[in-house]
Assembly symmetry: none
Homo-oligomer: 193 residues x 4
């Protein structure tokens, strides 16, 4: 059933994914689908969990590598992921989340929250290695936005893959900012990260 949904999304786009269509393609009764999922969104969320976690994982710091190259690589993997079918599922769900609060809640409380935790851990470790000291989590959060923001901006708003130059610029920006930041978290109170 997950496969049927996935295939339909690739072949016919999000609006081509219908409970009716999935049922026919999977050779299954609609009722059977409703027994397991409340809506097509829930189905796609399940495919996302299956297909997205691994490609978005932070590689375990091939230790002596330059942090900048490491970060650029990771951003490159994110950008590449968004071009694949599983990435299209994510973009579709983020898209649909703009139109439907329930989708938004499920997506953000589920996959996106977990992925952000993984990203915070990955980026935090990388920055610590880079600066030689632990990094404030709120700062890491802001730098994560600075790192992922351009990629998602290009994908969601401009509708094109992030180009390598942007990725490199972004990585350098983030690392510079992390190095320059004086005392971790000192005195900053308006941070809502």
């Amino acid at each position: 059933m997950l496969d049927a949904a996935d295939d339909l999304l690739v072949e016919r786009g999000f609006s081509g994914v219908t409970m009716e269509g999935i049922a026919v393609r999977a050779g299954v009764a609609k009722q059977t689908i409703y027994r397991w999922w409340k809506s097509k969104v829930d189905i796609l969320l399940d495919t996302l969990v299956d297909d997205a976690e691994q490609p978005l994982a932070w590689r375990p710091g091939s230790s002596p590598a330059a942090p900048e190259e490491e970060l650029t690589d990771q951003l490159g993997r994110v950008a590449a992921f968004l071009q694949e079918p599983a990435g299209q599922v994510l973009l579709s769900l983020i898209g649909h989340a703009q139109l439907d609060p329930e989708t938004a809640a499920k997506l953000r409380d589920g996959f996106l929250r977990e992925q952000r935790e993984r990203d915070l851990a990955g980026l935090g470790a990388l920055l610590a290695r880079h600066t030689g000291r632990p990094v404030d989590e709120r700062l890491t959060g802001r730098l994560l936005d600075a790192a992922l923001g351009p990629i998602f901006h290009q994908a969601l708003v401009l509708g094109r893959p992030a180009d390598p130059a942007t990725l490199a610029t972004t990585a350098r920006l983030v690392l510079d900012a992390a190095g320059r930041e004086p005392v971790p978290g000192a005195g900053r109170s308006s941070d809502a990260e």
Copy 2:
């Protein structure tokens, strides 16, 4: 008709905007709507053009003002805009663009392209004032992504308004990067901006 569509979007969300509903609320025949717009997306695109240009305009450089404050203010206006009804229209359309290529094409070839041109001009001018020399347009493009990316990332992916700390961090990042960049556009060839 545009108002009716706008109101429905605010009251009932994107899926609550139906041709049928607009017609009833505007006291108009469906056919009349179809005579002027091909779909509800086109209607919303028109409301966008009406309502989004002015709030997103770059203020004409209150001359001696610090560029960092100026940029932070502009980013704040963008973030604030996304919280307003007109901003919800934009976010909805960007969301729908993920689900429907035709929407994507219209949105990007229309409003988004024009807005990006205004943004490039605005940011370019600001950077030139900041650095004291003209700035390469491709660099400006990348820095624009760096500036807007976090805001849209927070809005679209995390579903929350961008916090002031993020805006300030982002503005500083962008200006630092512009100042550091040695020779405008020198030697870079993989730039697809």
Copy 3:
């Protein structure tokens, strides 16, 4: 305009005759049509008056001719008329009269009433010549129904042209009945003719 309506009826059938279509075909604005006719039915009624009277006229008794042959000829003309375009207009209007009381009223108070008067006069004269004495008008009415009934029955109900044998049988029946009828109109009171 009458021609346009006529043509459309022949080419596309009654439901293919639309005010919109007549206007386009006649190169005329709808409003102009409404200035002269209230509906497409009225237009067709006008074409009927133009095209039906002459073909349905009773030939002026080629005197010594056998009445039976004369009557058969007249019935043949009626049957043939119903096969022609003008006859199709009549059948269509009679058909539509079953569905719409207003059409029924206009058709019966107009063309059909006048045609029935011509038929009564024609048949009455023929019967008088045949029997050698004047014929009661109510009897003539009943015999007119007996004469036309089978033709319209075949056309409207069975959907086929009346065959010559039926016409001959019918003509003989009618003349026999007229000859046998003892005293014109004597004693009959329930006649509503």
Copy 4:
């Protein structure tokens, strides 16, 4: 659903019978109607089969009764039927058959063909009892037209119930013609009955 259609026809006439209206009145979804019938004409055809067969049946010859009275009674039942709601359905469908060939085909290949067979059998038996010998079927057909023609002519063309005098005249005409017809079917070749 059939009842809803029937009621609407009586209350609002043929053009007041709409799929939309039937659905609302029957408390049913439009799609459900379309699942079972292609058009409102098919629905009315079904009501016809339910409601018309019995009232139009030939009574089984209360044996010694005078054939003339028997035939007059039968014609009276036909005339009375056309005044009832079920008869209005028949007249409407015959009317619509003049406007739409598909309706014509369905009506004539279905109900009308079957009813004609029943009529031929009924009239044939009556004539055989009257004349004392079997009657040629083609002759029976012509006499059936002679019998029913005036009734339908009055209903469809003149728009009024057939009066008793006409029915009596018609019955006598038909029986006289049957008695006089010398040798069943002898020599007649142009008969297309």
